[in-house]
């Protein structure tokens, strides 16, 4: 306990370089300013986005009036529906994906069977090959299977995530085997052991895997473009890209859509990071 404290004190005493700090500020500004411009643009009328640019002034980042009109117009239109479809697809994918990843990880970490390491390598490597590369031939198979323009057609390719299986397996390996032995002696079957011993203990790894699966699906663009043609099943990124491509641009609404798309992952990461912190502390004290 005393070692980290003394380390911290020492680093606090060390001199911080003002020159390097200025460099860090400049780098951070390059990355954050376009994002600030995006956020500000979503809160002001479309016409003002360009009128604030020339002549160049600080007005470019400070709106004369702030309103949520762009968001209201966007969410009451087709984009609102697309957000709903996206959320539904994401939750279904996370639910199915977690069951699939957890059962596979449990079999690969806990159960003894011949060829286990070969199966593990096969599962992880085949999920690591980028999905986009085979999205075009897969979409043609989905047409044959009658899965185009269905929610399941959007969900299915997202449930397999090699990194989620890998993470969960590593975590399950760290759980003492005596827990499972105790449960088995009490007469628990393997699904029971997974559900009532491993799943409650795997909080951090499960949240991490859920985040991976969720973000993969939330930002998906190419696959929904290939597998859905009906407007009622359009996901948010595709719907947004469509309005951007229209001849009648509405920049304010485009900005608001981009902010809404970014907000969900940013909030999810923030919330999960907080619960990660709590969980890490709890397990660390054992």
């Amino acid at each position: 306990m005393s070692a980290p404290a003394s380390l911290r004190r020492r680093s606090r005493l060390e001199r911080r370089s003002p020159l390097l700090t200025i460099g860090a500020v400049l780098v951070a500004m390059i990355f954050i300013l376009p994002a600030v411009w995006l956020l500000v643009g979503s809160l002001r009328p479309s016409a003002e986005i360009f009128s604030s640019i020339s002549p160049l002034s600080w007005r470019i980042l400070i709106p004369s009036s702030v309103s949520l009109d762009n968001y209201i117009a966007l969410l009451t239109g087709p984009f609102g529906r697309a957000m709903g479809v996206s959320l539904l697809v994401c939750f279904l994918t996370v639910a199915l994906g977690l069951v699939m990843s957890a059962t596979a990880a449990y079999a690969l970490a806990v159960l003894q069977f011949p060829g286990r390491s070969v199966v593990f390598a096969f599962v992880v490597i085949s999920f690591m090959v980028p999905f986009d590369a085979i999205a075009i031939p897969l979409s043609q198979l989905f047409t044959g299977w009658g899965l185009t323009n269905t929610i399941m057609g959007l969900v299915l390719p997202g449930i397999g995530n090699g990194l989620a299986i890998f993470n969960l397996r590593q975590y399950f390996l760290s759980i003492p085997t005596s827990y499972r032995e105790a449960a088995t002696i009490d007469g628990a079957s393997e699904p029971r052991v997974l559900a009532s011993v491993y799943t409650p203990l795997g909080g951090t790894a499960l949240a991490n895997s859920a985040l991976l699966i969720f973000l993969g699906q939330w930002t998906a663009y190419l696959w929904p473009l290939l597998v859905v043609s009906e407007a009622r099943l359009q996901v948010a990124p595709v719907a947004l890209a469509r309005t951007f491509g229209e001849h009648e641009f509405n920049f304010g609404e485009n900005f608001a859509g981009a902010v809404l798309l970014s907000l969900v992952p940013a909030l999810t990461m923030f919330i999960l990071q907080r619960s990660f912190g709590g969980l890490a502390l709890a397990t660390g004290e054992k």
């Binding site: 001199r15 370089s17 003002p18 390097l20 700090t21 860090a24 500020v25 780098v27 951070a28 990355f31 954050i32 994002a35 995006l38 360009f50 640019i53 020339s54 002549p55 160049l56 470019i60 699939m100 990843s101 059962t103 596979a104 079999a107 690969l108 159960l111 003894q112 069977f113 286990r116 599962v123 980028p130 986009d132 590369a133 085979i134 075009i136 031939p137 897969l138 043609q140 198979l141 299915l156 449930i159 397999g160 299986i165 002696i185 699904p191 997974l194 939330w218 930002t219 663009y221 190419l222 290939l226 947004l240 890209a241 951007f244 491509g245 485009n254 900005f255 859509g257 798309l261 970014s262």
Partner: protein, 322 residues
């Protein structure tokens, strides 16, 4: 009393486990049971792999060996490698392949190098390092559709980038509408998102380098640059390799900004293999030719990844902790 009762209840189980006679049979029964559950638990994952990874790869390979009329009115006929020879005999396709390779040779090392420089800067003794790291990371949370929109508007003739150029005394630039600038503009868009993301991995890699190594280098009077190349880089090989490979894989299948911002133009200057395969398959309805393009893209990408593994795996320290 209750303790005794619990102990009594547990006795049969202990005896069962300890019994000598039926041990072999019980163990094999237990093993069969585990095998059964392993099969049940792995089944969904294996079905997903076979139907959604292997089946499309096989179908693309088979489809690439057939030729049919665009639109698929008649059944396609087996044609051997005719699609491949047609593609490589086509100047436009060859240009697309070369463009994809050049793009990746430039963008991947460049993004990793910039991410590394920023990570080094943000792990030095500076005020509020976490704040600057967070600000650099924020663009990575914007999905690529959103980033394409921001930059698509920013790069307009009447957009803020040209306004800044004008304020600095420069001439307005066409950016996305110019064959010579469109590709560089796309690189800016994807770097804005990518660099902050890769930076996170490199920062955590830099932080896991023990201070003792850097102090030892200081005692040996090694300069900053010498220390960086002889100590930091070799110890950072694993995260560097991961970032380089993941970045390469992502950039080989780059699609969204090309479709949204330039649609492959102007004058095909931003047409890369992924977009080309999409256009061949869906816009021109040449499914067999598109499948051949997907196969060629996958082979080139895997060759690049294998090459990077080789380059970065070599001359690792011979004495490693096991």
């Amino acid at each position: 009393m209750s303790v005794q009762a619990r102990a009594a209840a547990r006795t049969p189980a202990t005896q069962r486990r300890g019994a000598g006679g039926g041990l072999g049979r019980r163990r094999s029964r237990r093993r069969t049971k585990e095998l059964f559950w392993a099969a049940v638990f792995l089944l969904p994952a294996l079905i997903a792999i076979v139907s959604m990874r292997i089946a499309p790869t096989v179908s693309a390979a088979v489809s690439s060996l057939h030729q049919g009329f665009p639109g698929g009115v008649l059944a396609a006929e087996f044609s051997g490698l005719a699609n491949y020879s047609e593609l490589f005999g086509n100047d436009m396709f060859r240009d697309t392949v070369i463009r994809t390779i050049v793009f990746n040779v430039i963008i991947n090392p460049l993004q990793v190098a910039i991410a590394l420089i920023i990570s080094v800067l943000l792990t030095r003794k500076i005020v509020a390092p976490n704040l600057w790291r967070m600000l650099v990371f924020v663009p990575a949370t914007v999905p690529i559709v959103g980033s394409s929109i921001v930059w698509g508007i920013a790069f307009r003739q009447d957009g803020p980038i040209n306004a800044i150029l004008a304020a600095l005394g420069g001439n307005p630039q066409p950016f996305l509408t110019s064959p010579s600038q469109a590709m560089a503009s796309i690189m800016v868009v994807i770097s804005w998102i990518g660099i902050g993301y890769w930076m996170l991995f490199l920062v955590s890699g830099l932080q896991s380098i023990p201070d003792e190594y850097l102090e030892a280098a200081k005692l040996d009077r090694a300069g900053t640059i010498r220390t960086f190349f002889s100590i930091t880089i070799p110890l950072l090989k694993r995260p560097l390799l991961f970032v380089l490979v993941a970045d390469t894989v992502a950039n080989f299948v780059l699609f969204v900004p090309i479709q949204m911002l330039t649609n492959g133009g102007p004058q095909n200057s931003t047409t890369m293999q992924m977009f080309n395969a999409y256009r061949t398959t869906y816009t021109y309805s040449s499914k067999n030719l598109g499948a051949a393009e997907v196969m060629i893209l996958t082979v080139i990408m895997l060759a690049f990844v294998a090459l990077q593994f080789r380059l970065l795996r070599e001359d690792r320290p011979t004495r490693r902790k096991r």
